[in-house]
């Protein structure tokens, strides 16, 4: 088992990074009831962990017995029927799914699954907990229509089911949904908190950590706890006992982007652009999302630039990322950004050195 899973807190009491939020959530469900919740925060900040712990708090250990199902829906949409397939994780009391996986037809999934859940209302002998929980991942990727159709459904079936929504940026969730939920912001853990967690894991695994080692991992992790723990485990596999100056292996795609950046800085010509295209393709076929590539490329370029150019470059990065979102082929826009940068940089070089 990976350490990330092994040391994932199972109950709200075990949570150490977001202790205050966990305690608040515990109070929230103390009366066997809760409102709809919207969790938002950057990746690796612990949204999913908190949701799972919260489910356990509400339904007891039964919430952990989940089964993975590949569900088929036949949806009657007037003239034609639509077949949809989606993987769901479910226990007796909750269903979890990522409706955005089915693309533009997500609307039907949202409507169907909620209505189905509302029909099979769980009955508890004590007359309590008369509701199910639907966990929806990546609600920020849901289409506008799906978000619209969530609105009234949430109100209409609120007696039978609660929604726990989980997303990275709440900007992309419509106002109408946000106003119907209790918003819970999960911030990324600070570097000290990451160090604490790493120390704790080290202690439980019986490892000896040289001083400053955990701090260095935390710095490399971009404030993502998941990444920090993965890095830590990689280091453990690589070399143990740790030495205080042990190199922390960077992600290979990051290395690769750094290489692209220095290529671009060295030469600005159509030929170089052609070479860079090959490298960008390489990244894309390895399933690195294009917006992440662009962001990382910007980060690498900014490191190497003079202050006066930074404004200009970051403006164009924002511009092309937006275009990329609207367009279909990411590679065009990545390449356009590189070409734009080359032209700016060349102009700068000529103006400065003649």
């Amino acid at each position: 088992m990976l350490w990330v899973d092994k040391y994932r807190p199972k109950t709200l009491d075990q949570v150490i990074v977001h202790e205050d939020i966990a305690q608040n959530l515990k109070k929230l469900v103390a009366e066997q009831d809760c409102p709809h919740l919207l969790f938002y925060g950057p990746p690796g900040s612990g949204k999913k962990t908190l949701i799972m712990a919260l489910l356990r708090q509400i339904f007891g250990p039964g919430a952990e017995k989940v089964k993975v199902e590949n569900k088929n829906w036949k949806i009657d949409a007037g003239s034609r029927t639509i077949d949809l397939e989606l993987t769901t994780l479910s226990s007796a009391n909750h269903v979890e799914l990522s409706p955005s996986d089915v693309g533009f037809q997500d609307r039907y999934v949202v409507q169907e699954v909620i209505k189905e859940m509302a029909k099979n209302r769980p009955i508890d002998t004590k007359g309590k907990r008369g509701f199910k929980v639907l966990v929806l991942n990546d609600v920020d990727k849901l289409s506008r229509e799906a978000q619209h159709s969530l609105r009234r459904t949430m109100e209409k079936y609120s007696a039978f089911c609660r929604l726990f929504l989980c997303c990275n940026s709440s900007s992309r969730v419509t106002e109408a949904i946000r106003s119907r939920c209790l918003n819970v912001r999960i911030n990324a853990p600070t570097e000290e908190q990451i160090v604490n967690v790493l120390d704790l894991i080290g202690k439980k695994e019986g490892l000896e950590l040289p001083s400053g080692f955990a701090t260095r991992i935390a710095e490399k992790s971009n404030r993502s706890l998941r990444r920090a723990i993965l890095l830590f485990e990689t280091c453990r596999v690589q070399q143990y006992p740790f030495t205080s100056n042990q190199a922390i292996p960077p992600m290979d795609w990051e290395e690769y982007v750094a290489e692209i950046a220095s290529d671009i800085m060295k030469e600005q010509s159509p030929k170089r652009l052609f070479q860079v295209r090959g490298k960008l393709y390489e990244l894309l076929i390895n399933c690195i999302p294009p917006d992440i590539v662009l962001k990382r490329l910007l980060y690498e370029l900014l490191k190497r630039l003079d202050a006066e150019l930074k404004h200009e470059v970051c403006h164009w990065a924002a511009y092309y990322e937006h275009k990329m979102r609207l367009g279909q082929k990411a590679i065009f826009h990545l390449e356009a950004f590189v070409a734009k940068f080359m032209s700016i940089y060349k102009g700068f070089l000529i103006a400065t050195f003649g």
Binding site: N24, K27, L28, Q32, D33, C34, P35, Y40, G41, P42, A77, G78, G127, K128, G130, F131, H148, S149, L150, R151, R152, T153, E155, S158, A159, S169, S170, S171, R172, E175, S179, R180, C181, L182, N183, R185, I186, N187, A188, N222, D291, L294, L298, L302, A307, L309, K310, H311, E312, H315, A318, E321, H322, R325, L326, S343, I344, G347, F348, A351
Partner: protein
């Protein structure tokens, strides 16, 4: 519907006005509808206005008051965006329902029960144009036995031919006094303690949206118990603390790109929603007294563009960085045009 435990009901539902006259702050509508109740005469209606101002509540209340619980099922059809509302549904379901004749107007069980049915189309602005077009003739043909209630946020998304067939009512955002009195009423019912400061905070963060105010109140009450301070409310509402916005603004004033970049990184890592941040930054900039009008307009232009891009789904970090860099260049009087852009 099975009996529901009182506590499991959101307060928004619990305190939804059951009668038209209880709807707060929307005097014209209430006057017209009260009249309807007496004369049982009613035009087609179009309700529009920002969220949380009572549109759905009013429509449901009038339907209930006209027909009472027994007749409600057979006389009222309620459709919203969560039901499929393509052109097919308009052609079949709505038309079928509209076509059914109803008995003459006899009072039943103390309710007026006028001789027509009501079709409530909630969130009508998410209907396709085709579907709306298909409704035009249906509305007229069956106007003897059916009344339509359209509810939407943006009246501009309703096609003109439909809008002109209805009596239009704009629902105003609630004023602070109305909101306060409603909130205080709920606090009294639920046994909550709310001081004056918290009340005004609640008014300002909910911006005239009563549903949002009540949701925040319930959230805060759940999390922090029966005594609620303004800090608790800010905590549950997702409004960004003014210090964070201030820090970003101060970073822009320094004119150092790296300082600002670091601040942007922190904001993203803390998970603050950028769209919210932009609107709060906008307030700070418009109200700042030491910035020239020209600088303000330059910044606002960029804010508008970034907001549009965010709606399109662009990356939050890059947009915020772009805005920040632009604010910085405006404040430090750097040229607006890029130097090396050919």
């Amino acid at each position: 519907m099975a009996p529901v435990l009182q506590s499991s009901q959101p307060w928004v539902e619990k305190y939804r006005p059951k009668q038209v006259k209880d709807v707060a702050h929307q005097d014209e509508v209430v006057r017209v509808l009260t009249n309807t109740l007496e004369t049982s005469n009613c035009p087609h209606m179009l309700f529009y206005g920002p969220p949380g101002t009572g549109k759905t509540t009013t429509a449901l209340a009038i339907a209930h008051q006209l027909f009472g619980p027994e007749m409600y099922k057979s006389r009222v059809l309620e459709l919203n965006a969560s039901d499929d509302r393509g052109i097919n549904v308009v052609r079949t379901k709505i038309k079928d329902f509209a076509a059914v004749a109803v008995g003459s107007g006899q009072r039943q069980g103390g309710y007026p029960c006028p001789p027509y049915k009501i079709i409530i189309l909630d969130e009508a602005d998410s209907m396709t144009e085709d579907a709306q077009n298909a409704l035009r003739r249906t509305m007229e043909t069956y106007s003897k036995v059916t009344r339509f209630f359209f509810i939407c946020n943006y009246v501009s998304r309703i096609i003109e031919p439909l809008a002109s067939r209805c009596a239009k009512f704009r629902f105003k955002p609630l004023s602070e006094e109305v909101m306060s009195s409603r909130i205080l009423h709920i606090c009294k019912e639920e046994g909550l303690n709310l001081d004056g400061e918290a009340l005004s905070t609640l008014g300002s963060i909910s911006q005239g949206d009563l549903r949002r105010a009540i949701t925040y109140l319930q959230g805060a009450a759940r999390l922090f118990g029966s005594t609620i301070t303004s800090k608790d409310l800010i905590n549950v509402s997702g409004v960004i603390p003014p210090e964070v916005v201030g820090a970003l603004f101060a970073a822009c004033r320094t004119g150092d790109f790296d300082v600002a970049n670091k601040e942007v990184n922190n904001i993203i890592a803390d998970g603050y929603p950028v769209s919210m941040l932009l609107s709060q930054l906008f307030d700070v900039i418009v109200e700042a007294e030491d910035i020239l009008d020209e600088q303000k307009s330059r910044i606002c232009k960029r804010l508008a563009e970034a907001d549009k891009r965010l709606v399109d789904g662009a990356d939050e970090y890059l947009q915020l960085l772009d805005v920040t860099s632009n604010v910085m260049r405006a404040l430090c009087n750097m040229p607006e045009e890029f130097q090396y852009d050919s």
